[in-house]
């Protein structure tokens, strides 16, 4: 059945009114936060101290902390190096479903490596891995969730991209993945899996640092409000801070706050991600970030967040390298700027429904008629597949 448009239409007016009201409040709050931001930027050292104090006293925190650069400064596009290697990895997955005849999970990671200045055709690879049968069940016998599979996929992306690097690659080498560099954001991961994964990411980065391989996470249209959180801390610590609307449901994203402050091709100042949650993990990647306006025209800003390891953020030369490479790579797809290398890795990795069913049929065929111990596909799933 198609949608009941009459029913949707009935509620649409009310929905639009609510959205407009929300936008008005957001605009007001953005303006207030801009004033607060200006005030906070006048004394970056004080701002930093306030956040460090919060780090010590609060058990749960997710905010930004300025590094050495003034928080309101922006930096123009640096010169592009003539020779370097860019690697990208992106993954997709099949999440086990109880509705299917056979429960299985699969990770599909697309890898893309271009050696600029070589004139060579980029190297592509696709790694498809079935998740072990015993791994698709949780300790209490339920099937693992989408977040669990996502965690396995993210880890494999990072391991496989590392394995793709060879000593023949043109230096410097930049690896890029889609999404945050650390994997703390997967909040639904149960047990110690999350901290184990963070430890693995931390150890991988240590290897990367030893080999001077730069990693970056590219977040398109980011929704986080780390600067809003930072300004909340600043406001609470100030006696004379401007008033800000107390509707806490409206969080102003960093993107909204900065989009008119960063000219096309420029980046923002560097910040460090301050993320504390229980249980605290000692072996965690220290991550810094900047916002990059990947738009080509000032009238149409498009901010992406670029996350880099803290050790990379300590080197202006490396930061310039990441800035130049990711901006220019995004300009290849300039109508909707997004790094070409990442797009290609994604294009390689996408698993379509037909392929899902092919894999299922392949697995079922290997039972050689001894499938009776498994329940068939659910009737609901069967009818969903009918046209």
């Amino acid at each position: 059945m198609p949608l009941n448009f009459a029913s949707v239409e009935k509620n649409a007016s009310q929905y639009i009114e609510q959205a407009k009201q929300w936008q008005l409040e957001s605009a007001e709050k953005t303006s207030q936060l801009n004033d607060l931001y200006q005030q906070a930027c006048q004394d970056p050292e004080r701002l930093k101290q306030i956040i460090e104090l919060a780090e010590e006293s609060l058990s749960s925190l997710y905010t930004a902390k300025p590094l050495l650069e003034s928080p309101d400064s922006t930096y123009p596009l640096p010169a592009m190096p003539a020779h370097f290697t860019l690697l990208a990895a992106d993954g997709s997955q099949i999440v086990p479903s109880r509705h299917r005849a056979l429960q299985f999970g699969l990770i599909n990671v697309g890898l893309f490596k271009a050696q600029f200045g070589s004139g060579k055709t980029p190297i592509i690879d696709l790694v498809s891995e079935l998740i072990d049968f015993t791994t698709i069940f949780t300790d209490d016998g339920a099937l693992i969730s989408e977040d669990d599979v996502g965690l396995i996929r993210d880890l494999r992306e990072r391991v496989l991209i590392r394995e793709m690097i060879t000593s023949e690659d043109i230096q410097p080498v930049l690896t890029v993945t889609d999404g945050p560099l650390d994997i703390f954001y997967r909040s639904d991961i149960q047990g110690g899996k999350g901290s184990q994964a963070q430890k693995m990411v931390f150890e991988l980065d240590q290897h990367m640092q030893r080999d001077q391989i730069i990693t970056a996470g590219f977040i398109d249209k980011p929704g986080s409000a780390m600067l809003h959180n930072m300004l909340d801390l600043f406001r609470k610590a100030q006696a004379t801070a401007p008033e800000v609307s107390n509707n806490n449901r409206i969080r102003i994203s960093d993107r909204l706050l900065l989009q008119n402050k960063i000219p096309a091709s420029h980046r923002s100042a560097l910040f460090e991600i301050v993320s504390k949650r229980k249980p605290a993990s000692a072996d965690r990647l220290r991550v810094a970030f900047f916002y990059l306006n990947v738009g080509a025209q000032t009238e149409q800003p498009w901010l992406a967040r670029v996350e880099i390891p803290y050790w990379v953020a300590q080197s202006p030369e490396l930061v310039n390298f990441v800035h130049a490479v990711l901006y220019n790579d995004a300009q290849v797809l300039d109508s909707h700027p997004y790094p070409y290398a990442l797009h290609r890795a994604h294009e390689l990795a996408v698993v379509r429904q037909a392929e899902y069913e092919e894999v299922e049929n392949l697995l079922l065929s290997k039972f050689e008629g001894q499938i009776q111990s498994f329940s068939p596909r659910s009737n609901k799933d069967y009818w969903k597949g009918q046209k």
Binding site: A114, Q115, F116, S118, G119, K120, T121, P122, I124, Q331, V332, L333, D334, S335, Y340, H343, R344, E347
Partner: protein
């Protein structure tokens, strides 16, 4: 007819019908096939379907269109799109005959080839055998084409085939083919004039 060692695989079939078929190949394989070349597909029953390449089509998609209209792109990314991406070059083939149990026919085959059947470029000996068979009736299939540059296709085909026959001392093949064309086009004077014009051009090359 027999498989020869020189026949070169140039692609695999995407779709087919009795009178024409389309194969796909990668850009890397594109240096071999040419407009007007004689190609064949061998079926499971060992019969072979012959055709002439009538069109080579370079496909696009939304990414290629973006790259074309965007800023200048690195040479490495041009190579990526040409050689890595899954966009087959389409080779359109006009069926001109078949061979079963070693016997050539210039009629259409009873069945078309199947998807993923391999398309091969015929070697010189095979081109000579097929094109010299009977009274060169295969040429009528070309003249039946509509909305296609028939004269150019004829010129391309003859430019490749004529020297092969001349190499073996068969100078009569070309003259016989010209006579065949005149016979087939005797009621279509405008077209015959254009075809003769192309043949004259070919002789002066």
């Amino acid at each position: 007819m027999t498989e020869t060692h020189q026949s070169i695989p140039i692609g695999k079939l995407l779709r087919a019908e009795n009178s024409q078929f389309v194969a796909g190949c990668r850009v890397r394989e594109l240096d071999t096939p040419a407009l007007g070349a004689l190609v064949k597909v061998r079926l499971e029953d060992q019969s072979e379907i012959y055709g002439l390449i009538t069109k080579i089509l370079i496909n696009d998609d939304s990414l290629v269109r973006q790259l074309v209209s965007g800023v200048s792109i690195p040479t490495e990314y041009t190579a990526d799109n040409r050689y890595n991406r899954n966009l087959p070059v389409e080779i359109h083939v006009l069926t001109v005959g078949f061979a079963k149990d070693g016997k050539i026919s210039h009629r259409l085959p009873p069945r078309p080839p199947l998807s993923l059947d391999e398309l091969h470029l015929c070697d010189e000996a095979e081109v000579r055998r097929f094109t010299a068979f009977g009274d060169q009736a295969y040429i009528r299939h070309i003249l039946r084409l509509v909305d296609q540059p028939v004269e150019e296709l004829l010129a391309a085909h003859l430019r490749q085939t004529k020297p092969l026959h001349e190499q073996t001392g068969d100078t009569g093949w070309y003259a016989q083919l010209c006579q065949k064309l005149i016979t087939l086009l005797r009621d279509d004077y405008p077209r015959l004039t254009t075809v003769l014009d192309v043949l004259t051009e070919l002789e002066h090359e």
